[in-house]
């Protein structure tokens, strides 16, 4: 009798342990609030699945994923061909990109006496960040803001000092609208800035903007919404000046979806679409195509599927723009590639 009870106890605990699945991921700090919200919501729905997400930065996420120390990665800039090849070589599996939400960068400024939204052309932003436009009353800025008296003061340019997806999005946009930027500076999470001061994080950049008169910097849309920071409109590829908000960012993704490649590694800056905000970006989950542990794989697959469908409703309250439906449908197709 006692022996049978004992056997039963062992069996039940064993099966309980077998069901308890823990998934670990690491990467993007930008997407951290969303993924941690997903993790806790998903855990209440499926108590046996626990998702641990470490926001160590996109670069770190990619490195950990390649090294195989995490189950999934997350990044604000897509992996390069070289990194994908390295993952294939080291882990023996392809890595698939799944866009999960959208973010955007906005130009914020501090000009004494100016409290309205300025309108920026792509040429103005590129000129300021290349150091060619040095005064606020430069014709390139003044012509699109006829009613506003801009001072003849020197522009103080501010950028991020830490490597970040925010910077990646900003310089990716600049290199699309300015051939000079593309040739001289290029795109990366940190670049060799021609001008300007560096602030650490969104709070560092916005702190410098607040403190230094006649300054301009770029910050994440989420951060500026949550902190009620004034920011300007940007002219899109259709010649319309668009203010960044969750809708115009989703429009950007929809506008870019027609030309989206099969692996979703795409930048959506400066997309087509009359209502699209041009400095928008995806944030991606990085999922290995093959996984040693099939149970784990199945749980990960279910989690990603949930995030792309039901999980999308948690994006907007956290000020992430939700994915357009057309993109979600394509991603669900892509999920069939996962071999577990």
């Amino acid at each position: 009798m006692i022996r049978r009870l004992l056997a039963l106890a062992v069996l039940t605990t064993a099966s309980a342990f077998a069901q308890q699945i823990s998934l670990t991921g690491a990467g993007s700090t930008f997407a951290y609030p969303l993924y941690s919200s997903w993790a806790s919501q998903y855990h209440t729905l499926h108590p046996n699945v626990e998702v641990n997400y470490q926001s160590i930065g996109s670069g770190g996420g990619i490195r950990q994923l390649i090294a195989g120390t995490v189950d999934f990665g997350a990044t604000d800039g897509p992996m390069t061909d070289k990194e994908l090849a390295e993952a294939q070589q080291k882990r023996g599996t392809a890595i698939l990109h799944f866009p999960t939400a959208l973010g955007a960068d906005v130009p914020s400024y501090n000009i004494p006496g100016v409290t309205t939204e300025l309108k920026f052309t792509p040429a103005a932003l590129a000129g300021i960040y290349l150091g060619h436009i040095t005064k606020w009353n430069d014709p390139e800025i003044q012509k699109t803001n006829p009613g506003i008296k801009l001072p003849a003061a020197n522009i103080v340019v501010i950028h991020r000092s830490d490597g970040s997806g925010t910077t990646y999005c900003w310089v990716d946009y600049l290199s699309k609208v300015s051939p000079e930027w593309k040739n001289k500076i290029g795109v990366g999470t940190s670049v060799n800035w021609p001008v300007g001061l560096g602030g650490k994080g969104n709070e560092g950049v916005s702190g410098l903007i607040r403190r230094i008169p006649n300054s301009i910097g770029y910050i994440e849309l989420i951060y500026s919404i949550q902190n009620h920071i004034l920011y300007g409109d940007v002219e899109n590829s259709s010649g319309k000046f668009i203010k960044a908000d969750l809708n115009t960012v989703t429009f950007a993704a929809a506008g870019a979806s027609k030309t989206m490649p099969a692996d979703f590694r795409v930048s959506i800056t400066n997309p087509a679409g009359a209502q699209a905000y041009p400095i928008s970006t995806y944030t991606w989950l990085l999922i290995p195509e093959k996984m040693g542990d099939k149970t784990k794989g199945a749980a990960l697959k279910a989690f990603v599927h949930w995030g792309l469908t039901d999980g999308q409703k948690y994006a907007a309250p956290l000020a992430y723009a939700p994915l357009p439906n057309v993109v979600v449908q394509r991603e669900l197709q892509q999920m069939k590639k996962l071999q577990y």
């Binding site: 020197n154 830490d162 490597g163 290029g186 060799n192 800035w193 410098l208």
Partner: protein, 329 residues
């Protein structure tokens, strides 16, 4: 038996030691060998940790070292996109901010220490010492915030007047944005003063009374006693406190990156923004992709290690020559 052995006074034990050398086991039982081993292990661990650190920095910077060679140290371009890395702006910023911080901190720290040890009433001295030690425990990010919200606004307000007088000097020229080498040095100075005060006060207090009495017997004033007898006697310890302060300044990351402006350039003006080695590593390491970029950042760590060693060696050399002067003069 054991009790008897323990209660044996030291003198007979020594005499016995002369007759017959104690075996290793005997010494182990008496505790000598145990203490010896434990302290030796402590000393070895320092060597092992340092060795492993250098070995790691060396191995994981291989690609950058082979790609750039010595050029890494003396070029000023830091371009992660095109894979061009030069450390000079960071090395320059690290040295300038640390030295300037010491220039500010040494007089303040030493002055405070002398006051606390020699002049202040005991109660005031104890209370102030407690405050100073409290300052040493404040996390550096707090100092960074103090820099942003308190120091920089003050400096920004004061700087136009200062520049009217001293602006013609190249080191005080140019536009002041608040974030600069100078702001970083001031914050560093505030951070390292407690180290100088705390240790210097202890060594000043430890100076034997006989030194003071001898000086007083010669008819010296109170200040003469302090400056000519007590401080020179404690010089070794004071220098030690300054080395510790320097080490802290060289390696400080968070507070510096918050107030230095993070611009990879070399400027003569102390009021211009700059960058330090520790700050760029902290800023860029998390998002660094690609082996060359990572190895370049780790090589920066190696460079910081070397810079710290060289500056420390130079400071010790300076101390030795000062001592030599005293003997001959």
């Amino acid at each position: 038996m054991a009790n008897a052995a323990l209660s044996t006074p030291g003198v007979p034990m020594q005499s016995r030691g002369l007759e017959k050398k104690q075996t290793w086991l005997e010494r182990l039982r008496k505790g000598d060998e145990v203490v010896h081993l434990i302290t030796l292990a402590g000393a070895w661990s320092i060597i092992v940790i340092t060795g492993l650190l250098v070995q790691h920095l060396w191995v994981y910077s291989a690609i950058a070292r082979h790609t750039f060679g010595w050029r890494f140290l003396f070029t000023s371009t830091w371009d992660p996109v095109n894979g061009l890395f030069g450390a000079w702006p960071f090395v320059y910023g690290t040295i300038v901010t640390s030295i300037l911080a010491l220039v500010i901190a040494i007089p303040i720290g030493l002055g405070t220490a002398i006051f606390l040890a020699e002049l202040a009433p005991r109660k005031v001295s104890d209370a102030l010492t407690f405050l100073v030690e409290l300052l040493a425990a404040v996390p550096s990010v707090i100092y960074g915030l103090v820099g942003i919200f308190l120091l920089i606004p003050i400096l920004t307000t004061a700087m136009p007047y200062f520049q009217k007088v001293f602006g013609w000097l190249p080191i005080f020229s140019g536009t002041f944005y608040g974030v600069s080498y100078f702001s970083a040095a001031v914050i560093l100075a505030i951070m390292v003063v407690p180290f100088i005060v705390s240790i210097s006060r202890e060594v000043l207090l430890a100076v034997p009374v006989s030194q003071r009495e001898a000086m007083m017997a010669l008819g010296a004033t109170k200040w003469d006693v302090t400056w000519r007898a007590v401080v020179p006697y404690a010089r070794q310890g004071i220098m030690g406190s300054i080395f510790l302060a320097l080490a802290r300044a060289l390696g400080e990351t968070m507070a510096v990156t918050m107030v230095i402006g993070n611009v990879a350039q070399v400027s003569t003006s102390l009021l211009a923004p700059g960058y330090t080695i520790a700050a760029v590593i902290a800023n860029e390491f998390t998002e660094a992709t690609g082996d060359l970029y990572l190895h370049a950042l780790i090589e920066l760590g190696l460079v910081l290690f070397a810079v710290t060693m060289i500056i420390n060696a130079l400071a010790r050399l300076l101390m030795l020559t000062m001592k030599g002067h005293e003997v001959t003069g």
